[in-house]
Amino acid sequence: MFRAVRWLALLPYLALIVGPFFLNQVTPYVFGMPLLLAWIVAWVLLSAAIMAVIYRLDPANRDEV
């Protein structure tokens, strides 16, 4: 399970390095922000969410204090 979930960690890289090539525009505004900025902010949040899932499922975090 954990081995498969680990690959989620690649998604933020795709979103933040490749994504701007397709989302480099001002409109539409999302939550008051230009589209590119909104995309980046969304992925900052999603990165934390993805890492939280990985942290939960990682067996290494169970035995150590």
């Binding site: 701007p20 001002v26 590119l36 890492m51």
Partner: protein, 485 residues
């Protein structure tokens, strides 16, 4: 003394007091001074890692870059999360290896992994070359803040001197523990101030965030996305990649990693730190809010955007609080960098020459070096004319050259040889320096290249050269060794 200056002075005194108090009840051995006895749990490691990341760069650099460049500033939000994602997997093995081998610094790590003190020396030199601009930008920021927030009563050059003296004093007394406790104060202060300003200015002057961006777009169409040329999407993505890879290559980052009590503390931080990154969004909003309100700043003066707008909008006492928070954001990271630089020179240059030196002697040398390093940084801070972001990106281009050799050293069977690692680092650093010196002629030298490639961040081009040389030299030296065997 006006109201604003009282606030700033109080912050300096408080920082000094906390720094001195942090030492209480501890014998300051080398291990205590540099890595706090490797006894910090997740909260303090979090503060140290966050503490050195959220610096004057956050405060002045991010808002200034948004003001002067617009959309390209978003790179500052993007690279942190990527670095933290990587840190989850890369830092625990580094931490474990360092603990098992009682390492203090980044250079120790390379020297030990590649079994080569000379590689340690090379890494040390790269680290120092990258750290100096980083320290310079903290002092420079400090000068800007005190001069602006004090309504010109204290000139920026004097502020740079005072700040350097304070940081030097508490670093010598308390080492990294002083920084951790001051970091607590600093993080609360900057959090409150930046979030407040980032919400207040857009709402007060424009009635909302979308309205603010629309006003900026009316003045400068396309300004809040990436431009077609110059800092284009190619520049953006290569810069995000460069800074994400380089994030944990800074020598002072190793100091905070080694303070951790367990690998789990480091992994927990990888989850939390991306959220903390969002503070930068508020600094960026301040920069955009300043465009219609305080027009006309250009060149290095763009770093003043946040304070020009604050001076225009608030009473002196509030400017004083903003100034106090700003001073702390320069002092804490400045002191971390001072410790890292002094430890590097003492432990990884001095000790390589004087093999018989014991820990007590190395600690003494490190402490003696603190004021020397501070003086060098003061000199550059008072003489240079670059913006804060330009200084930071230069440092990043240098440290990122350490990335390939480091990551390969974590693999089970490392195919990179000592010579390959050294040659790759040298080639990368030389490329950065060469392009940096002949900046204007780079595009003219290779006019045939597509525009996208010409706009790539120099550090990424250097990284490609680095990796190519590393592979070729490693293969050659391995073949040589095999023939001899």
């Amino acid at each position: 003394m006006n109201g604003a200056l009282i606030g700033i002075a109080a912050a300096v005194v408080l920082a000094l007091g906390l720094g001195f108090a942090a030492r209480r009840g501890r014998q300051m051995s080398l291990e205590q001074w540099t890595v706090a006895g490797r006894a910090f749990g997740a909260p303090l490691v979090f503060l140290l890692m966050a503490g050195e990341i959220y610096t004057t760069f956050t405060f002045l650099g991010a808002s200034g870059f948004a003001y002067g460049k617009g959309g390209p500033v978003y790179y500052i939000l993007s690279y942190g999360p990527l670095a933290y994602v990587m840190s989850y997997f890369v830092l625990p093995p580094i931490w474990r290896y360092a603990k098992e081998n009682a390492l203090y610094s980044q250079s120790d790590f390379f020297a030990s992994k590649y079994d080569s003190p000379m590689l340690g020396v090379l890494v040390t030199l790269v680290g120092i070359v990258a750290l100096i601009p980083y320290l310079v930008l903290q002092f420079k920021g400090l000068g800007i803040i005190v001069e602006a927030a004090g309504y010109g009563a204290i000139p920026s050059s004097l502020a740079v001197w005072i700040g350097a003296a304070v940081a030097t004093a508490y670093v010598i007394v308390s080492g990294v523990r002083g920084s951790a406790w001051t970091a607590v104060l600093k993080d609360i202060a900057i959090l409150a101030v930046v979030v407040f300003l980032g919400c207040y200015f857009p709402l007060h002057y424009y009635g909302g965030f979308a309205e603010m961006f629309a006003t900026v777009e009316q003045m400068k169409p396309g300004f809040t996305a990436l431009p077609a040329h110059g800092e284009s999407v190619w520049w953006f993505s290569s810069t995000v990649l460069l800074t994400a890879l380089g994030f944990f290559m800074w020598p002072h980052a190793y100091g905070s990693i080694y303070t951790a009590r367990s690998a789990r503390a480091i992994r927990a931080n990888a989850v939390l730190l991306p959220l903390y990154q969002l503070i930068l969004l508020f600094a960026i909003l301040v920069g955009f809010a300043a465009i219609p309100q305080v027009p006309g700043l250009s060149g290095p003066a763009i770093d003043l955007a946040l304070f020009k707008l604050s001076l225009k909008s608030f009473d002196p006492w509030l400017v004083g609080i903003i100034g106090a928070a700003g001073v702390l954001t320069a002092l804490v990271p400045g002191s971390m960098i001072l410790i890292a630089t002094a430890t590097l020179i003492a432990n990884n240059l001095y000790r390589v020459v004087h093999r018989s030196a014991d820990d007590a002697r190395v600690l003494l040398v490190a402490k003696l070096l603190v004021p020397v390093v501070a003086l060098v940084a003061v000199y550059f801070a008072l003489s240079g004319g670059q913006t804060i972001v330009a200084l930071l990106l230069m440092g990043y281009s240098f440290v990122t050259q350490l990335f390939p050799a480091l990551v390969m050293s974590l693999t089970k069977r490392n195919r990179v040889t000592r010579a390959g690692a050294a040659a790759g680092i040298l080639a990368g650093v030389a490329t950065v320096a060469a392009v940096g010196l002949t900046r204007a002629s780079f595009a003219t030298l290779f006019p045939a290249l597509p525009a996208g490639i010409k706009e790539l961040n120099v550090g990424i081009i250097a990284l490609a050269v680095n990796i190519a040389v590393l592979i070729v030299v490693s293969a050659a030296t391995r073949a040589n060794a095999a023939r001899r065997a």
